[in-house]
Symmetry: D2
Subunit: 380 residues, 4 copies
């Protein structure tokens, strides 16, 4: 079952980046990828600086996807996959270029800056026949996969209510002037139509659909700009109805002062309820009608195969954000190798990207109209 | 500072009742009231049975408010206050009769079954000049009072977001056939226009306004009937805007399978965030921007006077639901004695009753219209 | 099943007292006792002041047990039971006088100031044939009774390890000069030979034996005086071996700065482990070998009869310290009424008092000898 | 500040190993080491199998330290450091051979199987002048370093009590027949004189000294063999006195059924108390005298430099066991590079190894003698 480590080129991850460094660690942790090239910044100097830091050869530091594709194409040991960790507005062009060059892509969320880009990307991915993965990090946690498997197996019965809450406080003040990451996330020309909803609301949305197995069908959204001067929402409150009329509530905020990253999902069925919270990611909480709460810990022997794939250590040895991210990379490697037929079931891709972009678009329109609106489905 | 224990007559509390027994324990705990009379049931036999159980003289067990007022009126040691713990549809008539007979009233929530009754009760209370209290239990918890005091003092800065969630699961199945309490709560002729919203949503609503010090101004509500056959909502999801446009989210459910009674409030200001949860009622959680969480425990020497009034034991000795309820009774006794001028500040009364009934009415209309609606304010 | 409320006389509970007020609330909560007389202080003035506060007639406020017995003996409606909430050094004389006067006694822990007194009291209790109860508060919590019932039923298998920890911090400074309660507890002439061990170590010890069903057989104790100038231990660390060689660890401290009252018990069997902590007294935690934790909440329908007796409210409505104490009073009332044959099984009495005094005596000797010592058993 | 990734050779990590795989991930995570060679097993076939899995060239898979040193010595790109992840009885010989060959060593705990070996190793390390590190994993957690820094800074005042508890349940049954790791850990010829104390008790001991800054001076230990047939302790209960008479309690167990890996440390000073628990490794809990608990989260801007070095992600993004381990590797790389003068302050080495071996030896003797014994100090 030995697999050769694949050669990866990374877009993004320059100085001051957060998620680029995560991509690097996640890619190498399980020895499925080796970082051999990168366009870590649009500045070739900064890109080379980062390359030196990460052990990438100077001549494989580029200033963009075009240069990278050109440079790598000439090598026998050229890159075999592309990772995208840049701001939203560049995702589409990079992904298109990479896939048209025959390279599988793993891309940060949201998939694109606009719904139109997302809809343009879908046929490109389909035509390529190549793996396209989205790093919806939370789907890399073992206990999220376990939650999904248990809902699918009927453990909590028919799903009747879905609640997901993603509180952050790091944009509680207008720091966008001095903070690079805050800067592009609050700028419609870089981030797209969604602020908090695009940055973290999509995580919440994707997680709700992923675990419940239900598609959201309609919503009414309130997307305030709480900090004066913001053009994009920094707070996000949404009522939903999922398929079959199942009620849901999605909240996400970047002005919830003092909160760090406590994404929390609850799904209630007619037999029981389940809860997962990022503050204790190795626990899946099940609640039963007889005033009994059950906590399943990562590493439990009873876990589903999907969950076990995402675990490296014995129970009681916490795995965190990097490991969850690494699991997505391992899945991506498997998808490239073609070794795991049902991977599309657990690894988010173009379908999830389209869903999330439709969700953002619909919520923004609902907020403007102050009205309930339908979310276009797969056929749309 | 010694006060004579006041003579109390209780309506409700018959066999199978939950809240009637709580009223009894809460009334006597701090020796501010003695239970001397009661119409514990509309059946005189059941009323007498309960009287015997609670040490009430047989001749002071009645079958209704009229009989009680008639009987007690003739005695030198007649009742000095009335407590109402009956289903919602009887609150108005009992309260009116008692107050017109010159007796202060402490009443369970929601104040009445309909908004019309609430609006009719307000002038009666005003005209009487007598104390009228509502047992919004959670306002009797020391740490809720502390939360309120700290928000008012600006500890967390200007309030910018309010979230309140009240999950229960006891109505996850259609038990209304065999369960007395489920029966009247799901019956519009007994409960009024609201199901879950009237039973527990009002607690959440009152708490949000009580702690934040802000009035809710508009809402969009989704009030599904999840269990087939229900006429009233058993799940309740609402987006709010409070005064000044402050966004809020209120959720309450009685079909959240496996949940027991975990009412949870979060208020975010521009300096910090606070949280209180009924699962750990002796804790007030404060979150700060520097990735620091502070927990203030009941009994802390720094507590406000309002909070200290609600504490009987040293820190580390948990007080619970009965004690919180007892604090409301102690406040009510103080209001009768006239010893605490600013009591109206902490003890919910007619104003809070009206607010809650307007909230229910507005939410029910919003749910039907699938639209945002304004909540009538005090002037309305 | 109606029972008449019994007339109670209380020793202790004067101004500044903590536990006396708890006795009063606990006695009346379930309407099993009425507080009709008291020697609340050795000062008749203070005793009368407290009587007025608690609705006790002025002529039934006394300055000691002798006066109380003399006064009450002449009345038709004289007291029917005696509650002792005074400092340790007076327990023996009061209990003896009351029982010799034919009155059942409910007494605070530790039972007496010395082992000699405890051994002298045992035959008096036996000869009287009257109920004698000790308010080991924690045994009044439903989930402690549930823990005991589950261990007895073999749920966690054969018990193999017992850990009990009782951290407090209120004596972290030398406050005994200004604080009445600290004063007598740190004074060997009032408290007896044990400081922290006598005040809270006995709670931990009693709980360990109560839940595990095992008697401690030997120990090695370290009883430091951490705060300079203390004559008695203010910290208490003990290794134990229970019957059958089962290892145990008991720690109790009153200098654990910042701790409030977080008594915590863990018992491990060969099938599972259980945990209870006073910070969340309505939860019993069970841990299983398959990385699964189970939390049983107070109010669960599966609870044992012993636990259900100790519950007043539906699950999710917290009961605390006063309610646990009240359960002991209800048990005591049942013992007086003779209505519950197996009560000696759940309500601590003379046996538990003797055990605890032997434990203190043995630990003090072990600390002095720096050696393992056997704890005398029942036959001793 | 760019550093070249160092070439590492790993001993151990064969099929079925747990800690070997952790060493690999930890070494590469921060790009400070590249795994280029290994004696993953004493069987050359197994060693080569593992090499293939981890991208190590087949000719650099060895069957022991001698072969590895011989093979690598001939290469220009030979290994620059050695990692030891084998059973305890082989640590000494490997470490000696590596250091005598001029290679820095990072070694798993306990340092050696016997105190004699430890004492023999000390002068070898000293003579080599090379870095020697011990992977006391928990010292790699940011919040443990923060705890240490705060104690040193006097945040909680003078230390007066130390409690450390390390509960595991995985050896609750006699699985040593079929489980490789259980096999050698329960075998005195492989593990040395200590069972649970050697495997996890040393972690607890090292952590207590590391954070408190105090050396343990005497102890009384109870080291039962709970599971029938065991030759070594599987449960470990110890009373300690640290320098200055500070009392301490250390417990560690591998038969605490249902426990996973919840190492928990509490240190109480005269101003406050602190707590850290492996179940929530990103939190440092501080308790204050005014009934206030403070939780400092990993990523807080106020953290000490030692803690910040150990953090890769923003607050709210959990880092776990692998990251803590990786921090030790990063420290080790710094020590090799000589870039961090005060590293000996945070990275455990020969001193900590000697302390732990003296602790095991003393505890085993104390258990046999059933007596308090002094722990030899640094001069010993």
């Amino acid at each position: 079952m030995t697999q050769r480590s694949l050669r990866l080129g990374l877009l993004g991850g320059g100085p001051g980046s957060f998620i680029g460094a995560v991509h690097r660690m996640a890619a190498i942790l399980d020895d499925r990828f080796t970082l051999v090239a990168g366009a870590f910044s649009r500045s070739i100097e900064k890109s080379q600086t980062q390359a030196a830091r990460w052990g990438v050869a100077p001549d494989r530091a580029y200033d963009g996807i075009e240069a990278m594709l050109a440079g790598e194409n000439t090598r026998e040991d050229g890159i075999e996959a592309v990772a995208i960790a840049t701001p939203n507005d560049s995702h589409f062009a990079i992904a298109r270029a990479a896939m048209e060059a025959g390279l599988p892509v793993i891309c940060d969320k949201p998939m694109t800056a606009t719904l139109a880009e997302a809809e343009a990307l879908a046929p490109i991915v389909a035509a390529s026949g190549l793996p396209f993965a989205l790093t919806y990090t939370y789907t890399g946690y073992a206990m999220i996969r376990e939650a999904r498997a248990r809902v699918a197996a009927g453990t909590i019965g028919r799903v009747r209510k879905i609640m997901v809450d993603y509180p952050q406080g790091w944009l509680a003040e207008a720091i966008e002037g001095e903070n690079v990451q805050a800067g592009w996330r609050t700028d419609p020309s870089r981030a797209g139509a969604g602020g908090a909803i695009g940055d973290i609301g999509v995580h919440a949305f994707q997680l709700a659909e992923y675990v419940s197995g239900l598609e959201a069908a309609e919503l009414v959204a309130d997307l305030p700009r709480v900090v004066p001067g913001r053009q994009l929402d920094d707070d996000c409150n949404i009522l939903l109805r999922f398929a079959g009329g199942v009620p849901g509530v999605l909240t996400a905020s970047q002005i919830a002062t003092g909160e760090r990253n406590g994404l929390r999902l609850r799904v209630y069925g007619d037999k029981g309820g389940l809860e997962w919270c990022h503050d204790a990611p190795g626990e899946l909480i099940l609640r039963w009608r007889d005033a009994r709460t059950e906590i399943i810990h990562a590493g439990a022997p009873s876990l589903s195969l999907d969950a076990q794939r995402a675990i490296r250590l014995p129970s009681g040895h916490p795995e965190g954000f990097i490991e969850a991210f690494a699991t997505l990379y391992a899945d991506f490697a498997d998808a490239i190798a073609g070794t795991q037929g049902r991977l599309d079931a657990v690894l988010p891709g173009i379908r999830e990207g389209l869903r999330s972009m439709r969700f953002i678009d619909c919520a923004v329109r609902s907020d403007e109209a102050r009205a309930w609106l339908p979310i276009p489905g797969e056929a749309a």
